[in-house]
C-alpha cells in the first residue's frame, strides 16, 4: 500500500524512467491506448447530474475501482479537488488524463496503477473513462487489459446497458462499445516527403480520425499524430482493434519507406534538418514549446537513423516530455508557476544541458549507407 498522503508527483516514475518503456515498432508508434466509456444505470450522466448525484456516482465507483485486484495493491486514487493544478497538468502531459478531466474538481476522481498503464477517470464526461496504455504498437494487449478491468468491475456495479444500443454514454458518438482505440505516431518521414496529407485523407476515409498530440482539436506538434476510431456502435470491439491495427501497420510501412527514400534521394536534406535541430537545441537561450517539439522530432529521427551513435531514443523522448510546461515547472528549483517568457528561458537551458550529452551528428551514418549501396 502507498502512504495515504502521497502526492501523485511522488507516485509517478520520473520522466527519464517513463521514457525507458519500450514496445514493438516504437520507432514510429510511441504508444497504444484503449479506453472504455461506462455509466451507472441509475445515476444521470455527469454533465447533466446535480452535485449530489455526481458525489453518489463518485462514492459508488471509487471504492469499486480501488478494490479491483487486477490493479494491484499499490494504486494512486484521489479526488480531483485534492490535486493541485500543477499535478493535474503533469498527468495531462503524461497522457494519463484528458484536458477536460484536469478541469474537474470535487466529485471527480482518478485511479492509477503502479505500472501507470491502467488509468481510470471517474466522472469525466461519463461516469467512467477507463484506459489501458502500452508503449509501442500493442493495441490488442491494451484491449485485453482494459476488457479485464471492465469485466471485473461489472461484478461490482451495474452499468447502463441495453441490448439494442449496448453501453449507454453521455455522447451518442461513444455509444455501444464505448471504445476508443488510439495510437500516437511519430511521422517525420511522411511530413518531410509531403505525403502526410494523403495518408490522413486515406485514414479518414476508413472511418478513423487523425488528431494532434493531445487529442481532439489539438495541433500535430513535433510530427506526432494520433489515430483513433470514430465509430463505436454496430461492430464488435475486436473488429475495431484489428482494423486499426492493420491500418497502423500500413502507416508504419509508409513511414519507413518515406524515411528510406529520403535517405537515398535527399540525405543532405535529412542531415540539414537533423543537424540544425541539434545546433539550435544545443545553443538556444530561449525557445517556445512548439519550436522545441518540432526540433526534438528531428533529433529523434536522427537517433532512429543512427546519426547520433548509441544515443537511446529514450533521451529524445525525455526531452519531449520535459519541454512541456508542467514538467518544466516541476523541474524548476522554485517550482513556481513560470511566465511564458521565463518558461522559454528555462526550457532552453534544460535542452542545452541535455543536448550536450548527445554526440555530434555523424553524417557518415547516412552518407556511408548510400555509398555502400552504390557500385565502386
Amino acid at each position: 500500500m502507498i502512504p495515504p498522503d502521497m502526492s501523485i508527483l511522488d507516485f509517478l516514475v520520473p520522466a527519464s524512467e517513463a521514457c525507458l518503456r519500450s514496445g514493438p515498432h516504437d520507432k514510429i508508434v510511441l504508444s497504444s491506448r484503449v479506453r472504455l466509456a461506462r455509466n451507472l444505470r441509475t445515476v444521470p450522466f455527469p454533465s447533466h447530474s446535480k452535485k449530489a448525484e455526481r458525489i453518489k456516482a463518485f462514492e459508488t465507483l471509487m471504492p469499486a475501482v480501488k478494490s479491483l485486484s487486477l490493479l494491484g495493491d499499490e494504486i494512486f486514487a484521489e479526488s480531483m479537488d485534492k490535486l493541485p493544478a500543477l499535478d493535474k497538468q503533469v498527468l495531462v502531459e503524461r497522457h494519463l488524463i484528458s484536458r477536460e478531466h484536469a478541469a474537474k474538481n470535487a466529485g471527480s476522481g482518478i485511479v492509477l496503477n503502479r505500472e501507470e498503464n491502467v488509468c481510470v477517470m471517474v466522472n469525466e464526461e461519463d461516469h467512467l473513462r477507463m484506459q489501458a496504455l502500452r508503449p509501442g504498437l500493442q493495441l490488442r494487449q491494451a484491449w485485453m487489459a482494459i476488457d479485464a478491468v471492465d469485466t471485473a468491475l461489472q461484478e461490482k456495479v451495474e452499468f447502463a446497458f441495453t441490448e439494442r444500443y449496448g453501453f449507454l454514454t453521455a455522447c451518442p458518438t461513444n455509444l455501444g462499445t464505448g471504445i476508443r482505440v488510439s495510437a500516437m505516431l511519430h511521422l517525420p518521414g511522411l511530413v518531410l516527403a509531403e505525403q502526410i496529407n494523403q495518408i490522413i485523407q486515406a485514414v479518414n476515409k476508413l472511418g478513423l480520425a487523425v488528431r494532434g498530440l493531445y487529442g481532439e482539436g489539438t495541433e500535430a506538434l513535433g510530427n506526432v499524430f494520433q489515430v483513433s476510431n470514430q465509430m463505436t456502435l454496430g461492430e464488435p470491439e475486436n473488429d475495431i482493434v484489428e482494423r486499426i491495427n492493420k491500418v497502423l501497420l500500413q502507416i508504419i510501412e509508409h513511414e519507413e519507406n518515406a524515411r528510406l527514400s529520403q535517405m537515398e534521394k535527399k540525405p543532405a536534406v535529412l542531415l540539414n534538418h537533423i543537424g540544425r535541430a541539434y545546433g539550435v537545441l544545443g545553443n538556444s537561450w530561449s525557445i517556445s514549446s512548439k519550436e522545441a517539439m518540432n526540433l526534438i522530432s528531428f533529433l529523434r529521427l536522427g537517433v532512429d537513423l543512427g546519426v547520433f551513435g548509441k544515443t537511446p531514443k529514450s533521451l529524445t523522448d525525455e526531452l519531449f516530455l520535459r519541454s512541456q510546461p508542467a514538467h518544466l515547472q516541476l523541474a524548476h528549483p522554485l517550482r513556481e508557476k513560470l511566465g511564458s517568457d521565463e518558461r522559454d528561458l528555462f526550457r532552453a537551458q534544460m535542452l542545452r544541458e541535455r543536448t550536450a550529452l548527445i554526440p555530434k551528428p555523424d553524417p557518415q551514418a547516412l552518407l556511408g549507407r548510400r555509398e555502400e549501396g552504390s557500385p565502386e
Binding site: S47, H48, A160, E163, G166, P172, M231, E235
Partner: protein, 164 residues
C-alpha cells in the same frame, strides 16, 4: 432591440415561427428564449462540430419527430440534446429513441450493438431468447398437431421456467 418577454435585456435570439398559417416573429434575450424553449439556430452548429457534418440537421429532424418530449427521469429536453449533442441519463435513450436512430446512422457503422454484453445480461438474454424460441416451437407443433413434440416442449418450458 429589446427582448419582447422581459423587456429588459437585448434580444439576441430571433425566430420566425409559422403556426396555424400565421407568421409570428419572436425576438428574445437568451434567458427568455431558453425559458420559452425557442431554440437558438446557432446551437446546431455546435452539434455539427461535435458530431460531424449533417448531424445537426438529423438532430433537428429527430427532435421534430419526438415533439416536445422531455425525459421523465432526469428532465432532459430535446432542446438540451440539440444544444449539447449529449443525453442526460440512461433513460433518455428510451425517451429519445424515435429520432435517435437517424442521428446514430450518420455517425456509426450500424445502429445495433454488436460488441461486449455484460455477463449477467448475457445469460438473461440467452434465457429470454431460449424461452421465446421454445414457445415458438410449441405453437408450431400445436398448429401441426404434433402433440408428441408439443408435450415435450411444454415440459421443457416448464422445467426452464422452474430453473430460472
Amino acid at each position: 432591440m429589446v427582448c419582447q418577454f422581459c423587456k429588459l435585456k437585448e434580444a439576441t435570439v430571433h425566430v420566425t415561427e409559422i403556426a396555424d398559417n400565421k407568421v409570428k416573429k419572436v425576438d428574445a434575450c437568451a434567458a427568455c428564449a431558453k425559458e420559452k424553449n425557442y431554440n437558438d439556430p446557432a446551437a446546431f452548429a455546435i452539434a455539427d462540430h461535435l458530431l460531424g457534418l449533417g448531424a445537426a440537421q438529423k438532430m433537428e429532424e429527430a427532435s421534430e419527430a419526438v415533439g416536445t418530449i422531455s425525459c421523465d427521469q432526469c428532465g432532459y429536453t430535446q432542446a438540451d440534446f440539440k444544444k449539447s449533442g449529449r443525453l442526460g441519463c440512461a433513460h433518455c435513450y428510451d425517451i429519445f429513441s424515435d429520432g435517435l436512430d437517424s442521428v446514430l446512422k450518420t455517425m456509426h457503422k450500424d445502429i445495433r450493438h454488436r460488441g461486449k454484453v455484460p455477463a449477467g445480461i448475457q445469460s438473461a438474454l440467452k434465457g429470454a431468447h431460449r424461452l421465446q424460441s421454445l414457445n415458438r416451437d410449441l405453437q408450431v407443433a400445436i398448429a401441426q398437431e404434433d402433440f408428441e413434440s408439443a408435450a415435450r416442449l411444454r415440459d421443457e418450458i416448464k422445467a426452464f421456467k422452474a430453473a430460472e
